[in-house]
Symmetry: C2
Subunit: 289 residues, 2 copies
């Protein structure tokens, strides 16, 4: 009879793997069990705490659906999502940052110069730049999937007053690798706190704020997909993003321009009466493999 | 601006705690993040693997309900449940073992000598013993919550053909600390494999079998609750219980007795025509505090 003890249970677990287990599956599961067991031992986890953890996971499962992904948010506030981003980033390319739980598929194609702001109130932001390879050569035909919150701090999927694809769009770069659109300046906002993740933040004395940002997913044939965000350098939550998404190369200055001149390809004549902001940001993709 | 890197993210996480955070909450969450981050670093977790993990958790949430607790099963097959049991066991008392996902509350009170087997087919098992303190003094009025599968390997909550409390009952010990009942000999059975935990077992080449057992929860005023199981020493899965529940002191011999004699208080005259089995097992409870 095999006697399992608190000292040998990790080894017993490793001994249960089948001979034909995929080596990577074995590596990941072995490390997961090793660290999970070490956690329980380090803190002498009690039955009541274990029970609380189980109830937490069940609640996170119940509150999740096609549009709300509480386990993503949990991974985000624990820093796991950002860590995975950083582990898989390479210095030659633009840093990746958290996908977050609010990306939706199927956003409409938008032309260069498109206005995502439409009738919404708030400062105008003109975002533009180039998608290049690590040497700075333009990538034509790259797809840039763009999404952000409305001025009320809500993504369209959280807000019954917005259309499905409000503040969402996919742009294709031209021969110079250029993208460009106008929108409303993003706002700082809070992650959802009405579920189990909100309870964790509350119990550990953490605020739920994220610095304002534009989300980008950039893809191009032959290059690694890039999931990232860009941040203005004057946001008050830049030092303590509750999901750890800020990277040095993703922080930039939004530069003020006078209201009466717009670059070629952008036409907001008559719609802009105050100075507007420009975010110039180039994305460097890394070849696959 | 605080630059979060893959090397400092664990420290940044620890720095986010509010000043008034409960010290135990801080200890548990800090250790959890430390080990979770170490896991991701050790295996260089990819985005695709992270995504797979998120989908796994969402599926586990979707398949869980009041009667199915997939996160408990996940904890069980990862060895976490057993480890928590062992961390919180003391050598003066009977070892604890996994609660499992199938305990239900509100089982009926049953008198000494009660027959849980009723009309079900299978070998008769007479289970009896005493509940004592660590010195062997009897504990009167202890409650023993008993549950097991039917001969088909299913708990009542898994089986529409069984009553809610089929093979469930709560017995109260007498002045000598005694309990005793008859039932059908438990069978080895498989944990549910139609959910995400089944996929893990399959992907790691593990079987889903548990050695046969009787579940007990024993409680008494002034003593720590004991959640445990007892196993016969001839079960083929004793060496590789898929939930790691076997402990040396919980394994025992089921002794065969002739069909024509029953101990006082048990009356199966006319119902038993073949030799029956007796499981003598004493439970030692540890005082609280």
């Amino acid at each position: 009879m095999r006697t399992v003890t608190k000292d040998n249970i990790t080894d017993v677990f490793l001994g249960y793997f089948g001979k034909d287990t995929d080596p990577r599956m074995r590596e990941v599961m072995a490390s997961l069990a090793k660290h999970l067991h070490a956690f329980a031992r380090d803190v002498n986890l009690t039955h009541a705490e274990w029970q609380k953890g189980i109830e937490f996971m069940e609640w996170a499962g119940q509150i999740s659906d096609a549009e709300r992904h509480e386990f993503v948010l949990l991974s985000d506030v624990l820093g796991l999502s950002s860590l995975v981003d950083m582990i898989n980033s390479t210095p030659e390319g633009t840093s990746s940052s958290v996908l977050g739980p609010f990306h939706i598929s199927g956003a409409p194609d938008i032309p260069f110069g498109h206005d995502l702001k439409r009738h919404f109130e708030g400062p105008v932001l003109l975002a533009r730049g180039r998608v290049t390879d690590p040497d700075g050569s333009p990538i034509e035909g790259a797809k840039l999937d763009i999404w952000q919150t409305a001025p009320n701090g809500l993504y369209s999927s959280q807000d019954p007053d917005q259309d499905t694809y409000s503040f969402h769009g996919i742009q294709t770069t031209d021969a110079d690798g250029r993208y460009g659109f106008t929108t409303v300046k993003p706002v700082s906002y809070t992650v959802p706190t009405d579920g189990p993740v909100g309870d964790i933040l509350n119990a550990t004395g953490r605020h739920p704020w994220r610095p304002s940002h534009l989300h980008y997913i950039c893809t191009a044939d032959g290059y690694r997909p890039l999931v990232t965000e860009i941040f203005p350098d004057d946001d008050p939550y830049l030092d303590e993003d509750t999901v750890f998404g800020v990277r040095e190369d993703l922080v930039m200055k939004y530069v003020e321009h006078p209201a009466d001149t717009f670059p070629d390809g952008f036409d907001l004549s008559g719609k802009v009466t105050e100075p507007y902001l420009v975010a110039d940001f180039d994305l460097r993709l890394v070849p696959e493999g």
